[in-house]
Symmetry: C2
Subunit: 213 residues, 2 copies
């Protein structure tokens, strides 16, 4: 089972690695990190460099597509080479998925027109401008498209996907393997739960510094 | 503020990327991905390749050390070059931390003798053999050493560390930025919570396949 994970400069590393950590444990899974070209890409995280081990043209029919987000998505929203690849691959996927601002790429490719979808909470207006119908949910499944909220939500999305692909027991075994028993020290992980001052702080900082940080 | 993250072949990618995604957002943070040599390392995840942008000898006094885990830790437990570096760096860190089986490396370096610590739930006996006193907690802080449980726990650990370094508001802003409002589809993330059959499945598989998967 081929699983393609799009990678690009300005990627948020956890958007790609959260789902990777779940999905590579699926029986028969073969992950491909797919870039415009093979070679290193500079994530926005760290900034850690990761490798694209495949180029777009080398991956034509993955069963699962994962499109992560990050500040680098901005440059991809009018990149026809990437958008064409996403559209072409989507024709035959079993699941087309995104994490965070990765849903902006799916929307720019025309895959989310009029569809419920989610993404990073700071980018909901942009998602709507691109034709989707944003919801506040953490994971939105609509047909074969699954979009997830910001950054860390890719882990939840991937566990749901693991259950769809391989059953609840396998998904639970993966959850236990990665000891995903979250115990954040604060309850500030969504704009509904965080103190208003924190929401404003992040909003202001994001406006000054560009998306999703 | 220099933050060194040890990377090595057989690393679990999320062990390193979870904390990275939190810590690079700290004001003034400069992350270094430190390998025995500079260059690519093959994680066990995917398998994704990531880059060591610094060699051990190039990073002498990081304020924070993060030691991730993975199947590759086994080869490091008697690697004196790595253990010497961990010991030397620890002398001057403000915080020395580990995720998952990374605590085995700290223990092998002699940093956890007789100390409460944690790590991946499947490796608690090994952690005790190496001199630590394993606890079932998700994050254990003992002096300036913070150990975290399996894989995904590095996110929780790093948020706690962010609060210690920069205050609760900054940590909450980071939590909101990465939208860490976990909603796993199952409640099977620890051996106490998972169905017994799932615990046995993971235990059996791990025994056959080597640690922590």
């Amino acid at each position: 089972m081929e699983i393609a994970i799009l990678v690009f400069d300005g990627l948020t590393a956890l958007d790609a690695v959260g789902p990777s950590e779940v999905l590579w444990r699926l029986p028969g899974a073969e992950l491909r990190y797919v870039g415009k070209e093979r070679g290193p890409v500079q994530t926005e995280t760290g900034p850690l460099r990761v490798f694209a081990d495949h180029a777009l043209k080398e991956v034509a029919e993955p069963e699962i597509l994962v499109v992560p987000g990050g500040m680098g998505t901005r440059a991809l929203l009018d990149d026809e080479e990437v958008l064409d690849w996403v559209r072409a691959v989507h024709e035959r996927t079993r699941w087309t998925t995104s994490v965070c601002t990765g849903s902006l790429i799916l929307a720019a490719a025309g895959l989310l027109d009029g569809m419920p979808a989610t993404g990073h909470w700071l980018q909901m207006d942009r998602l709507a401008e691109l034709g989707a119908e944003p919801t506040g949910k953490r994971v939105v499944r609509e047909g074969k498209i699954i979009t997830a909220a910001g950054v860390s939500s890719g882990i939840d999305m991937a566990l749901e996907l693991a259950a769809l692909e391989a059953g609840d027991e396998v998904a639970q075994a993966i959850q236990l393997s990665i000891e995903y028993d979250p115990q954040p020290p604060f309850d500030a992980g969504s704009p509904e739960k965080a103190p208003e001052a924190i929401v404003e702080l992040v909003r202001t900082r994001a406006a000054a510094r560009e998306p999703a940080r």
